[in-house]
Amino acid sequence: MRAVAADVEASVTRDGVTVHYARYGYASPTLVLLPAWSLVHSRHWKMQVPYLARHYTVLTFDGRGSGRSDRPASPASYSAAEFAADALAVMDATETERAVLVSVSRGALWSLHLCAEHPERVLGAIFIAPGVPFEPPARERVVVLQRFDEVVEEPVGWEKYNAHHWKADYRDFVEFFVGRMFTEQHSTKQYEDAVDWALETDPATLIASHYGLDDCTPQAIGRLAAKVRCPVLVIHGSDDAVRAHPAGASLAERTCGTLVTLEGSGHFPHTRDPVRLNLLIRQFVEGTRR
């Protein structure tokens, strides 16, 4: 059973793509808990919503390609600008003038778009384990990304991040990838949850979403980060095996934000250390009231 039911569940449709959203609570300000990569849907915020909704208004939506939202086929549908436009559409539909944005991982890209291009709609931004391309990824990851659409026989490790492998054995990829998300001991439940959510979408959608980010170069994202003027909090685990800690540190520096390092944490700390993350989010939101 869910800890708290949504006060409003509805959807918005843009260019024929329908995105499903939910609203919880009534207090001010509003927090938009942004989608991450379409591998998971909005249930990954389940540890945050009940607490934050007691203090604020919380909006969540299933990112296109995940959960109850549509799964358009074209890569162009998965650009950062499209995700950002979905967020604005949800804010418009709920008459939300301004909000604090909370993102995880790849959600950092949509959040940066909003902060930089729509500063009048953003009170502040929290980036958890931000998936920003500021620090060179490990060499093995670079090689793997270059071979994303090649056929790799019996892929090992990050070689499983591969379009053909996803189509051949999607579950194998999911189990590998989610395993990398949780480097903390004793994370079985968080692991099972993320695997289940990932299995609700499909390889074709994820492949499209992969190509959708082609324009997210370090230069382009760096330009967005440089335009951010709102208060920023970056939270990054020291043991994040998906997006390394220096990327978060760099984002904090570029946005004049505060960096909180979680010693021993992996890539999804909001599910693994929900209490600390909830308290950090609350502390940050209170600070934006000034």
Binding site: Q185, V260, T261, L262, Q283, F284, E286, G287, T288
Partner: protein
């Protein structure tokens, strides 16, 4: 001594009337603290200023009529317009454009007007026990209100609030009034403070202010004032406030849309009686208005954290530093993975630095307790019970530092060797406890000095009773309590009339580690080698004179130095070595040819353990080091020092160690003769245990 000196103290002058203010810190916003003058003055904020000024600029003002401010004559000088103009003049003088005003009792209407008429400058108001006529006062105010100006014969109780009576016997009013306003048990210090501040003004000033106050008298006018306030407000009000009923605070919060914090069981002076709670409420209020800044930080997942302890060593003198280092060494033997930080101040830090221990950087925020103790001492006289009472604001200031350290530091364990602030304020604010808590002490029970009479006996019993009640009500605050010594070391007294026997109670509530010397004295056959290493020859009679680390020993040093020429005549082989300690400048002491004077000597115990005679104060550490090393020694308990006079002497008598000397009646002749009598003599003391540190460490390690 104050816990925090102001950065700036100045006056503003309006129409020939000077109003004093003090500033700590710079930057905006600033807090403006307004006391209910003239019956009180700015020192009534002493429990708040040190803590709040670490986070914000703090301005305290002495409204006209008391403190260093003028006491103009005539009621017109005390009208609300004058008071408002004074506060504005102070804000201007400080250059504060954004203030959060904290006001008490009848200063609250001034603060509300300031907020209403200068909304651009006042960003928030904290109203403590507000005197705003939003609800009727308690019935006991009817008579004094009605008959204020009448000539009443022999008024009593609340009737003492009478113009004519104040002119006859003003001091009787604050004595009655503050007794009523502090209904909380164990409030003797707050009562003494409040009365003494009230007595710094005079009846004519009190009468003029009361008659000129002109605050909104009826409910409608008071409500209109409250409704005109637009900024955030916080109301703090005790349920047992006999000056202002809590209904007034409740209504003020309603009308201003503010937050209300009701302090159940508190009287009219929570800033004095509950300083920790009020500090935290004020800071949280300002943080809500300003937004608490996020700081760069590291949070470590729970299973990743190393085990960590925070050690607090009683900072008065050097007494406990050596034994605490010894306990930590043993503890690390038992729990090698344990990390220990020290929250410590000078002179304890001099020992810790020499030992390579890790001193927490927040130690720099601590107000110095040794300096306070030195400021309380005069010629070989230290009333240590009263000195501890007068250290109240330093204890609050240091507790607030400590609490911030434990809230951020993720400590598993707090070890306090006579860390009075931690033990007291965790019992007073049990919801603040973090980590397990080990309490160490080498004495239990405040004892009155005979010349303090009945009142001092009442005060010590009251302090003891509060401690006993604390531990009965909150046994979870001390996870382990260790008495550094043995049951036989405990004095055969009671905690006071109708209170338990000290030994019975202590045996029930403590474990016993045995004495902790912090070092192993040399065996008799090792003594010559140590003497040789320290440069003491066999044909010399070495007399070491030491007074510990607190700086109160100067008078004794001078007296013993004066006895040196006589003693040298009596004992030609005499070599006298005077150790001034870390807080007395050795160059400032008198000198004689042949006399050696040193400052701080690291490992002084090695010198003491091989000397032929020592002269010391009655402090436990030095005398027990001498007892353990089986050296003859003379000791002079500080006058009015109950611990040295009773607790230490009892313990030394049990070991059969040392000769107790009276400072006042010992002239240089007598001291020289005593040196001659005892130097080099063989002694037959009871053995001092050597396993104390290991035993204490075992008791502590059980918690890890």
């Amino acid at each position: 001594m104050r816990a925090r000196q102001p950065d700036r103290a100045d006056v503003v002058e309006r129409k020939g009337v000077k109003v004093a203010y003090e500033v700590v810190g710079t930057g905006e916003p600033g807090l403006l603290l307004i006391p209910a003058a003239p019956i009180s003055h700015a020192r009534s904020w002493k429990g708040l200023v040190p803590f709040l000024s670490r986070h914000f600029t703090v301005v305290t003002v002495d409204p006209r009529g008391n403190g260093p401010s003028d006491r103009p004559a005539g009621r017109a000088a005390y009208g609300p317009d004058e008071m408002l103009a004074d506060q504005l003049a102070v804000l201007d003088a400080v250059g504060l454009t954004r203030a959060i005003v904290v006001a008490h009792c009848h200063a609250v209407p001034w603060a509300l007007r300031l907020a209403a008429e200068h909304a651009d400058r006042v960003w928030g108001v904290v109203a403590i026990a507000p005197a705003v006529a939003l609800a009727p006062r308690d019935g006991h105010w009817a008579e004094p209100t009605e008959r204020w100006a009448d000539e009443v014969d022999n008024p009593t109780g609340w009737g003492l609030c009478n113009r004519h009576f104040w002119r006859q016997d003003y001091p009787a009013w604050p004595r009655f009034f503050f007794d009523q306003l502090l209904p909380e048990p164990h409030s003797t210090k707050q009562y003494e403070d409040a009365v003494s501040w009230a007595l710094e003004t005079d009846p004519e000033t009190m009468i003029a202010e009361r008659e000129g106050r002109d605050a909104p008298k009826d409910r409608h006018a008071a409500e209109a004032l409250c409704r005109s306030v637009r900024c955030p407000t916080l109301v703090i009000h005790g349920t047992d406030d006999r000056c202002q009923p809590v209904a007034r605070g409740q209504r003020l919060a309603e009308l201003t849309g503010g937050d209300l914090v009701v302090l159940e069981g508190a009287g009219h002076l929570p800033q004095g009686r509950e300083p920790v709670k009020v500090n935290r409420l004020v800071k949280a209020f300002v943080d809500r208005i300003e937004g608490e800044p996020m700081r760069r930080q590291v949070w470590t997942r729970s299973l990743r954290r190393p085990k960590r302890a925070l050690y607090l060593s009683s900072p008065i003198g050097l007494g406990h530093a050596r034994r605490d280092v010894a306990v930590v060494k043993e503890l690390k033997r038992l729990r090698p993975e344990l990390e220990v930080d020290w929250l410590a101040q000078h002179p304890v830090t001099s020992v810790l630095e020499a030992e390579g221990e890790r001193i927490h950087p927040a130690s720099a925020w601590l107000a110095n307790e040794s300096a306070h103790i030195a400021s309380e001492a005069c010629e070989h006289d230290l009333h240590c019970f009263q000195a501890l009472r007068r250290m109240d604001e330093i204890l609050v200031a240091n507790f607030m530092v400590f609490q911030e350290v434990v809230e951020e530091g993720l400590y598993d364990l707090v070890i306090g060797d006579e860390a009075w602030d931690v033990d007291h304020f965790w019992h007073e604010n049990p919801e603040l406890k973090r980590g397990d808590h080990v309490w160490l002490t080498d004495f239990v029970g405040y004892l009155p000095m005979p010349d303090g009479g009945e009142h001092e006996a009442f005060l010590t019993a009251d302090y003891n009773a509060e401690m006993i009640e604390h531990i009965a009500r909150y046994p979870r605050i001390r996870d382990s309590a260790i008495f550094v010594g043995n049951p036989d070391d405990i004095v055969p007294d009671t905690f006071g009339a109708d209170l338990p026997n000290i030994r019975d109670w202590t045996e029930t509530h403590f474990s016993f580690s045995g004495y902790i010397t912090g070092f192993t004295p040399p065996d008799p056959d090792e003594v010559p080698a140590v003497r040789a290493e320290l440069g003491y020859r066999d044909d010399e009679q070495v007399c070491v004179v030491a007074v510990g680390g607190s700086g109160v020993g100067r008078a004794l040093l001078e007296k013993v130095i004066a006895a040196y020429p006589l003693a040298k005549r009596l004992v030609p082989e005499l070599r006298m070595v005077v150790v001034a300690g870390p807080r007395i400048d050795p160059g400032s002491l008198p000198s004689h040819p042949g006399l050696e004077v040193h400052g701080y000597v690291n490992r002084l115990y090695r010198h003491l353990s091989v000397c032929d005679l020592a002269v010391a104060q009655g402090g436990l550490t030095t005398t027990m080091e001498l007892a353990a090393a089986k050296r003859p020694f003379l000791y002079f308990p500080l006058r009015h020092h109950f611990e040295q006079t009773f607790h230490v002497r009892h313990r030394l008598d049990r070991y059969g160690a040392g000769r107790c000397m009276d400072y006042a009646t010992s002239d240089p002749d007598l001291i020289a003769a005593a040196v001659g009598d005892h130097i080099g003599e063989a002694v037959a003391y009871r053995d001092v245990e050597t396993e104390g540190a290991a035993q204490a460490a075992r008791l502590i390690a059980e918690l890890l």
